[in-house]
Symmetry: C2
Subunit: 408 residues, 2 copies
Amino acid sequence: MELFVVNRNKDIADLSANYLFREITQRKNQFLQKNPDAKLINLGIGDTTQPLSSSVVDSFIKKAHALKTPEGYQGYGDDFGLLELRKQIASKLYNNRVDEADVFISDGAKCDLGRLQLLFDRTARITIQDPSYPVYIDTSLITGKNEIVYMSCSPENHFFKNLDELPSTDLIAICSPNNPTGAVLSHSQLKSLVDEAKRRKSVILFDAAYSNFIQDSSCPRSIYEIEGAKEVAIEINSFSKLAGFTGVRLGWSVVPKELTFNDGTSIQKDWIKIITTFFNGASNLAQQGGLACLSNDGLIHSKNTALYYLENAAALKQVFEQNGYKCYGGVNAPYLWIDLKGQKSWDVFDHFLTYAGLITTPGIGFGPSGEGFLRISAFAHKECVVEAVSRFENIFKKNKKEVYLTNF
Amino acid sequence: MELFVVNRNKDIADLSANYLFREITQRKNQFLQKNPDAKLINLGIGDTTQPLSSSVVDSFIKKAHALKTPEGYQGYGDDFGLLELRKQIASKLYNNRVDEADVFISDGAKCDLGRLQLLFDRTARITIQDPSYPVYIDTSLITGKNEIVYMSCSPENHFFKNLDELPSTDLIAICSPNNPTGAVLSHSQLKSLVDEAKRRKSVILFDAAYSNFIQDSSCPRSIYEIEGAKEVAIEINSFSKLAGFTGVRLGWSVVPKELTFNDGTSIQKDWIKIITTFFNGASNLAQQGGLACLSNDGLIHSKNTALYYLENAAALKQVFEQNGYKCYGGVNAPYLWIDLKGQKSWDVFDHFLTYAGLITTPGIGFGPSGEGFLRISAFAHKECVVEAVSRFENIFKKNKKEVYLTNF
């Protein structure tokens, strides 16, 4: 009898490990060993810090109470999420540009990105922005898609390339407002993207997870504001950055019924097969909270929370600009992308950690075009940002004076 | 310039659609159109019906309150889940047979089954029980594993085959207590499974989602009760059937550090890469509730709820046995597997729907070896079961008298 032995998924074996956040943690821990009293401030991770609204919490509590009663108890929910939540998303967030039947509730954008990869053949080629959120590349590779075209994004090209400058691919992953650069695509950039994708018969995976931060009313909050986008684009979004649900877990994807594969079959039909096989619904508590997020109160809270983080971004931007650094992002996005004037990302990261106890993210961690940049996250309590600004000022003025012990 | 067009994942295209639950819904709806006043009783789906315990709900509420305060707010949780929850699972459910570091919290067993498939190369062969929960087959096929060996399970072989009767495969998916047959593997069956997997260097995917129903103290509740299992087995489990969390969403997998691929690399290491790429943690509310499930109160509630469903199973079993049908399962599992004495699954399904307004699940929907059987789920309110028993009795006695209008 033939003996088998278990093979790794060779696409994981081939994956070059992305050590970014592990490396940051290691350097942080080394620093803390030497300086156990240091008061670190984390401007590295893109994680929300502001409390949930009362109406959202009341909604959780109401649902929790119901679950302990025979009448209110609920088992598995609808496969695609609460119908009322899908309706509210379609009407409140898309102004009914999309049909509620095309909205699929999930446990978050990252999880949907992974599942969406399963829709497409492993021979599919994919365009990914450079720099980018590492999950696009990793989920592509692990699902066997190793032909990746990189769209190099820099200040010189306003963080976008027209597709006609790039080889054609089956899939195009685009994130706007962008993580890490904070760049937001204009209506005309998005229109050129949609038109060219249509010509090429490519599918766009449009990650709009930061759309709530867009202040510039001329910039679309959804790709479906572009005519014809439903024929070429899937949109991914989430309550994480919209309502502080990073830990609560709730998101959605829009997979329009208009989308088809090259054989004419429906992409949405396969999506339904994927989510009913690889997923079992978002938590009913989270979904109930999501409904409250989309109430008038909830939406005002979201708007105010976005403004809170954007004020952080503005304060951080100011201190860099006043000291001669060019800063991108931070206006329609919670991330600043700082041009380090020729310095290496990791060198500046180390400098800020060592002399100011500030954790940032080296741009190189998001791809080769990120070298020479630093990402600074505005997700932080205001008092931390005030202290961080003061430490940056100290560093810029006095250079190398250790300022990381200040309490705040 | 070359033009691309988007290919379906051909493994989905090749998938023969499993119409089981859609077909059940269609037949149910047709019946309701003709009989709009019928009071249907659903013994089809394996979905919990009994309320959550007060301590679990209190735990949700406490967490919800915390999330609206600056001190209590929490963003992303630990990648592998709350450490305290992993500890409690290792100690309370595994008697510390597994290390807390090998326990990975998830949003449910089905989702983990899908992600686990990504660990293994698409060339991997997999053994799957027939009949079985359709997700094993579908997640195998969608991730490119189309060499499936079926382990035919019937009353004749006590719903288990020794592996030496089957060709060797890289992976072996086993569910005990079994969905749909309700069979539970004995210590000696599990030992032979582990020993033979070890000889063959196969990895067992052991689905223990119904372990809480095991009453027979000689039957292992975990595969890790078998010596050496950590070298060959991954175990999947969930709070869905343990604590009624089908809608709340919380599960876990045990991926022991002892497991390796054929190249000697660590399976756990790749698993960490998979879950940090394709997942972003279970809801913090669900995790907090999970902790309460593992308190003494919570565990007593779980035990009592399992007994409640098993009393339902016993009542249903009795009516079938008294009328000359052989029934399997229902003692250590919430499912009854009824031998239809040569009748076809769908015929009997239709008969019970038409003349008694009872929804069951045709065994054929779980695989070819399920033909001639019916799965009856004991997940229901007791009063529904009492009424269902009475309708079954009527059907058996008077045959074809329509009894589906009775209120209950």
